[in-house]
Symmetry: C2
Subunit: 146 residues, 2 copies
């Protein structure tokens, strides 16, 4: 179910990439957060344990992870990309108030894909579904304090 460190190392090696502490650290950080960090957020998360970490390394590492299927890139309409270690294709929802981005797991999208394929005559291979609104926490705040 959950990808562990050992298999991440194997996947890197099997694609001809070296296994380095930095790469394992980046993957570990991404794996252990639900906040869909961008490169700079990852960099700042890693700085305390890896003071020599470079932002360029984060970018290069994420490009590799994207290539070999260890992470996916999100393009939610902000000024920077976010990253997600969950590899099943799933929609995301962003709170317009606080900016948090959440996964929407267990979303059933086969009917959509069929509908779009029929309407477009495209042979579909992928999708990116982004939703926008107000998260439960921000809704609560509004009710209490506004």
């Amino acid at each position: 179910m959950m990808m562990d460190m050992q298999s991440v190392a194997d996947i890197l090696r099997s694609h001809g990439f070296k296994v380095t502490p930095q790469r394992l650290a980046v993957y570990d950080a991404l794996q252990n957060t639900t906040e869909h960090p961008n490169a700079e957020m990852l960099y700042n998360m890693l700085l305390p344990s890896y003071p020599a970490m470079s932002l360029a390394t984060v970018y290069k590492t994420m490009e590799i992870f994207d290539q070999i299927g260890l992470a996916q890139v999100l393009n939610i309409g902000e000024d920077s990309y976010r990253y997600d270690a969950r590899m099943e294709n799933h929609p995301h929802v962003r709170c317009n108030t606080c900016g948090r981005v959440d996964d929407i797991m267990e979303f059933e999208d086969e009917a959509i894909m069929e509908q779009v394929a029929k309407l477009s005559d495209y042979k579909l291979t992928g999708r990116q579904l982004y939703f926008y609104g107000e998260c439960p926490k921000c809704q609560g705040k509004k009710k209490k304090y506004n």
Copy 2:
């Protein structure tokens, strides 16, 4: 049904923006294409008739159109934004082979919005649905020549 020049002028004025030939020209160009141009494509489309047109003007104009609801911005995962004068929220599909972007009109998305609202507990206000694949034309080419 279709937005004409007169009402574009009215909408600009009603939001306190001046009505200028450049703005009408940008809107006209965007209205009369289905290829979802980015700023540079729009600029190049307009150059023949408006040799003095500036790329900065296109950007500024599109920002205004986005604000006042005369166009929407698409973020399809390319390195630049594309624009669409069709204001009903609708999905888009991009051909991975030739890069064209098509509208998917008549897409029924109420069921999706309900499903996502239920799964996320967000109060949803918007969505951006992007699909990727191979367009009919490129499928045909592949079958014939590859």
